[in-house]
């Protein structure tokens, strides 16, 4: 029988019990990781119920009174939901456009350069990615501080402008945040594009240049079209994550200034402040559930498209 199966190309399977016994040591070494996964990622899930309750720490998750959709009603009636959703989505769209453009530009430039200097450039622009958001907040502060900031003390006087109260004027913040986001992530994002460019067959460029194509034409007609799948893929992934924001960026860089909330509050910062500062846990939980559920749907939808385009890169 087993010989028959083997000749049909199937490996004979031992009974489950026997196989599990063989892998017992493997299960044992996996155990700590699985326990952590359970504690960190699955045990909290029943806590999602808090969004539908009037949470009281003393009574706990199960003892607190059930209030149905009231927390959500409040969240949407106050306009908070609209504001934080708008900010989260618009900032993410701006980040996708600006950071993708910059990352591709840098990747193309780097791919044409050679030698040690190329590595130096790449290391330098990647460095901001390794800095904690608290310290990025300090760096921004050195430039934006009203009394001592570099902009107010050195740059603006050069142009005869008077001081700007950066931390209370909302109109500058979309630009500041988009700039800081690009500063932080272009070095990271360009790596993937650069490796895609490096993967392009060199002979295509050689024959193009024999045919008299200029550098710009080669970029326009070879590099960019061949990067298209990577761009689409990364953009789809980013769209799948559009309900999530870089919490540190939106919390630390504007230094948690109340005057700026209308342009800096995202779903993540809202959930955070609700929990830590305001102490309205149920409300915060409602915003969290809103984010988790819509975020989940978006990831699945984005992934559906990814799978159609390129099954290898699909998550599911």
């Amino acid at each position: 029988m087993s010989r028959l199966e083997a000749s049909a190309g199937k490996v004979p399977q031992k009974p489950l019990g026997k196989r599990m016994k063989r892998f017992l040591p493997i299960y044992l070494i996996m155990l700590p990781g699985l326990i952590y996964l359970f504690i960190n990622n699955y045990m909290p899930l029943p806590g999602l119920m808090v969004a539908f309750k009037q949470y009281n720490i003393k009574k706990g998750i199960y003892g607190s009174p059930f209030v149905g959709m009231k927390n959500f009603q409040y969240l949407f009636q106050t306009g908070d939901a609209l504001l934080i959703t708008r900010n989260t989505i618009l900032y993410n769209l701006a980040f996708i456009v600006v950071n993708t453009f910059m990352a591709i530009l840098v990747a193309i430039v780097l791919s044409e350069l050679t030698g040690k200097i190329k590595n130096f450039y790449q290391s330098a622009i990647l460095l901001p990615n390794l800095i904690s958001s608290v310290i990025i907040g300090y760096l921004a502060f050195a430039f934006l501080s009203v009394e001592n900031g570099f902009l107010n003390n050195t740059i603006l006087p050069l142009f005869g402008q008077s001081k700007v109260d950066w931390y209370s004027e909302t109109k500058y913040w979309p630009f500041i945040l988009i700039f800081v986001s690009a500063w932080k992530s272009v070095g990271y994002n360009c790596i993937i594009y650069l490796s895609a460019i490096m993967g392009i067959d060199k002979s295509i460029y050689e024959s193009a240049s024999i045919d008299g194509a200029s550098k710009m034409q080669q970029i326009r007609y070879i590099t960019l079209p061949l990067l298209k799948p990577t761009v689409i893929m990364l953009t789809l992934m980013a769209i799948g994550r559009i309900f999530y924001s870089d919490f540190g960026l939106f919390y630390q860089v504007p230094m948690n200034q109340g005057a700026l909330y209308s342009v800096t509050n995202t779903i993540d910062t809202y959930v955070y402040r609700g929990l830590i500062q305001v102490g309205n846990i149920s409300m915060s939980a409602a915003a969290g559930v809103y984010q988790s559920v819509v975020g989940f749907i978006l990831v699945l939808v984005a992934n559906l498209f990814v799978r159609k385009l390129d099954p290898d890169n699909a998550l599911v």
């Binding site: 904690s132 300090y138 760096l139 921004a140 998550l315």
Partner: protein, 299 residues
């Protein structure tokens, strides 16, 4: 042969990259220079790349005995990063190794359980309630170590795919035939073959721990002696007086505050916060880039 066009292209490319490199580094340089500026000068002239008067006063103050708060927080950062990275490495490697075994019963289910956490998560509030009411990590060192940072699905799956693709089955089979058990095969054969990915994960985890300020902000409320340098920086952004608060009595606390070169000390602390990253950066840079490429589009 370099054509005229190529030379022009390289020139423009270099100009673009120099601009971007300067943009990337200038804020860090400003921070370092500010930390080396005389406090009174800084208050008078603002943050500047060319200070009128240089001074190491801020560092003197930090390393003098009266600022134990800062040095302790700095030590905490190193301790947390060290322990955290080791734990993260252990949990990630063992789980990923198991998941890479093709014949493992329930492999699909277990992989899905890991993977699902990338799609859906309870978010901050349920996690907070879980850790504070069930495990009581508030104001303990576990609050800094355990929540969220110890293992993540992305790293597990990254490592798993490395094991599956870069450790040839034939070598493992040969070891089994020679009578080696699962554990011996793992420690003697698979892991030595996987040094690059282990280094990459260690680096990701180490950076995450070193740069983390979230856990301290959420879970360390009263016991500020557990603060890492990031937590302290976070606290000091709002309130520089926290530096003097640890002094034993009020009068010395007030005295202390008057003597603190507050503006430059902030920047000196931020500089210390970046320093270890900059020091190891040349050594990890290649690995870091490789890790990002390995994660590929999934990153």
């Amino acid at each position: 042969m370099r054509t005229k066009e190529q030379i022009r292209f390289e020139l423009i490319g270099n100009i673009i990259m120099v601009i971007l490199t300067v943009t990337a580094l200038v804020p860090i340089v400003l921070m370092i220079i500010s930390s080396l500026t005389d406090d009174a000068t800084l208050i008078k002239n603002g943050y500047s790349f060319f200070p009128e008067k240089w001074s190491v006063g801020a560092y003197n103050w930090i390393f003098s005995s009266n600022s134990a708060t800062i040095l302790r927080a700095y030590m905490m950062s190193f301790i947390i990063t060290g322990i955290g990275t080791l734990c993260a490495l252990f949990l990630t490697t063992t789980l990923a190794y198991g998941l890479s075994k093709k014949a493992l019963p329930f492999r699909g289910l277990l992989t899905f359980l890991v993977f699902f956490t990338m799609l859906f998560s309870g978010g901050l509030v349920p996690t907070y309630i879980n850790y504070t009411t069930v495990f009581h990590v508030k104001d303990t060192i576990f609050g800094l170590l355990v929540p969220s940072l110890m293992m993540n699905a992305f790293n597990v799956l990254l490592m798993k795919s490395y094991f599956t693709s870069s450790v040839p089955d034939e070598i493992l089979e040969a070891a089994y035939i020679d009578g080696a058990g699962e554990l011996t095969t793992m420690t003697k054969i698979a892991l030595p073959l996987s040094k690059p990915i282990i280094a990459t994960i260690a680096m990701f985890a180490g950076l995450a721990y070193w740069n983390d300020w979230n856990n301290g902000y959420i879970y360390i409320v009263k016991k500020t002696e557990l603060f890492t340098i990031q937590n302290l920086l976070n606290r000091l952004m709002q309130n520089i007086q926290a530096l003097a608060q640890n002094s034993s009595n009020l009068s010395t606390a007030q005295q202390g505050l008057a003597q603190i070169p507050t503006t430059t000390v902030r920047m000196a602390m931020a500089t210390l916060g970046i320093l270890p990253v900059i020091v190891i950066y040349p050594f990890i840079q290649k690995n870091f880039v490789k890790g990002i490429t390995l994660g590929g589009v999934k990153g």
